[in-house]
């Protein structure tokens, strides 16, 4: 350890990264101790690059040795790339090698200094990403199939429930009606009221079941997007809804409405429900008025339904979109499913729906549908 040469040799041996100093005839002149730490091999146990290659590269040894031989034509440093190295335990590591010409020995042999960085974890991660990318499409289609299956099951469930519940409800209503009609005289006034109550409650539940089925379905079908003439759609829905509100003594004003991008059959449910609400809650006024307005931006079309009816407490503006949520009591009939269906359809179009209003100040419900393809 006293000659200058020994000092330099010792410094190279201390390299924190696996290091090889090798000559053009294959002699391994020096390796770092970190080579031993990283692989478990005795770093001084290899006399030649060939011995190291045979141990570390297995079947690839010959190819690697050819690559090493070419290094001796180098004029400057080069990044050789990644190599699979087998350690003493048989585990595979990925080393990223860089090499550079390192001068000439006194006997004229050229030397190369090669240093490796262990990139196993990065290489593993990259391999995992490649694998995941390769299976991504597969997983997306598998997941899509799962979702579609869940929708189909939900649909079958909703259908079965609505169908199977109808028969017993008809029985409850029917037996109560028969009791009332044919045995009513045997009942006192209270008894008759109770029988009538049973009959009515069964009918109410049938309506709830129908509405629930409609709600379940509002979300199961993917919208079939096309351009929709909203002025025509509002007029068509109004004709239908108006017939259900003979008590409505007002008029509808439809402003110019931009075309929407949406599923017409689903949007009918939104518009019908909003018009139904507007007519219902403004029907107590002689000067009832329902305004439908719309405007378009580059991103979305927005439609607003405003009435001058009884309005609602704005604190409940969000809650009114919940299933079976009702802000008004028995004064106004309904199950509270209409806005829930409207919201669900709008959400299926990736749109938004919101409400504004105040007690006695009428209500305003707006929804927007994106134009960039739902």
């Amino acid at each position: 350890m006293n000659s200058a040469g020994e000092v330099w040799r010792e410094a190279l041996r201390a390299s924190p990264l696996p290091l090889f100093l090798h000559a053009e005839d294959g002699e391994l002149i020096l390796t770092s101790r970190s080579l031993g730490e990283a692989t478990g091999y005795d770093p001084d146990g290899f006399a030649s690059v060939g011995e190291w290659a045979a141990v570390a590269y297995g079947d690839e040894a010959e190819r690697v040795k050819e690559g090493i031989a070419r290094l001796f034509t180098l004029e400057s440093a080069v990044r050789e790339g990644e190599f699979k190295v087998r350690d003493r335990d048989g585990a595979s590591r990925v080393w990223d090698f860089s090499s550079a010409p390192a001068g000439t020995l006194p006997d004229g042999r050229r030397m190369i200094l090669s240093i490796a960085t262990d990139v196993t974890s990065r290489a593993d991660a990259e391999a995992e990403i490649r694998r995941l990318n390769g299976t991504l499409e597969e997983r997306v289609s598998a997941r899509t199939a799962d979702v579609e299956e869940a929708y189909t099951e939900l649909e079958a469930f909703a259908y079965s429930v609505s169908h199977d519940l109808r028969a017993p409800l008809r029985a409850v209503n029917g037996y109560a009606e028969i009791l009332l009609e044919e045995h009513g005289r045997g009942l006192d006034q209270r008894g008759r009221e109770l029988a009538a109550g049973i009959a009515r409650a069964a009918n109410d539940m049938a309506t709830l079941v129908d509405d629930l089925l409609m709600f379940a379905r509002a979300g199961t079908r993917a919208p079939r997007i096309a351009a929709v003439d909203m002025e025509e759609l509002v007029a068509a829905c109004y004709a239908e809804v108006r017939a259900g509100h003979p008590e409505f003594r007002g008029h509808l004003v439809v402003g110019p409405l931009p075309y929407a991008l949406g599923d017409r059959a689903l949007l009918v449910q939104v518009v019908s429900n909003l018009l139904d609400n507007a007519l219902k809650y403004s029907s107590r006024r002689d000067d009832a008025r329902v305004d439908v307005t719309g405007h378009a931006t580059d991103l979305a079309c927005t439609y607003t339904f405003r009435d001058n009816g009884v309005g609602f407490d704005p604190a409940f503006a969000q809650r009114m979109f919940g299933v079976f949520e009702r802000l008004h009591g028995e004064d106004f009939p309904g199950t509270g499913i209409g806005l829930a269906i409207a919201q669900r359809v709008v959400q299926r179009h990736r749109g938004r729906i919101w409400a504004w209003g105040g007690p006695g100040e009428g209500a305003e419900i707006s929804f927007s549908l994106p134009l960039g393809g739902a």
Binding site: A167, P168, R170, I178, A199, N203
Partner: protein, 150 residues
């Protein structure tokens, strides 16, 4: 071969309550004696086709057929009736709880003559049923006249 039916109306209904309500409504409308009730699709086919050698169809004015029946469903009964040249012209009215488009479409595709949804409300149910029976017994002119229907 065809043989006469003792009853102008064949009602195929498995649900005990629906059957009781239907018979009650038919009784009130005066149609009860015209109606034969069977409780499933197998019994309906046995009534209509017997052992297969003859079809009981003369004087049979209408089959009221529920869709959801145990074992042999209403749609299969419909298929068998409309698929048999001897039985094809027997009017079949689907009388069901299902308002589903797919049920409706499937029944009409198979040749159902009418599709009636049972209302839940009993008053409406009674009116619907007696109106239907009255139409087929008193208004509709059958393929073959074989004496008075009632």
């Amino acid at each position: 071969m065809t043989v006469p039916s003792a009853f102008p109306v064949l009602l195929v209904e498995d649900n005990r309550d629906d059957a009781a309500l239907a018979l009650h409504a038919l009784e009130a409308a005066g149609h009860r004696p015209s109606v034969h009730l069977v409780r499933d699709g197998t019994a309906a086919l046995a009534y209509l086709f017997g052992d297969g050698s003859e079809v009981r169809r003369e004087a049979l004015r209408v089959v009221l057929l529920d869709i959801k029946l145990p074992l042999v469903g209403g749609i299969e009964v419909l298929r068998r009736i409309k698929g048999d040249t001897r039985a094809r012209s027997i009017p079949v009215v689907m009388f069901t709880s299902s308002a589903e488009a797919r049920d409706r479409e499937a029944c009409y595709r198979l040749g159902a003559n009418s599709y009636v949804v049972k209302p839940v409300d009993f008053t409406a149910f009674s009116e619907t049923l007696s109106l239907t029976v009255r139409y087929w017994l008193e208004v509709n002119v059958p393929e073959r006249e074989s004496g008075p229907a009632r």
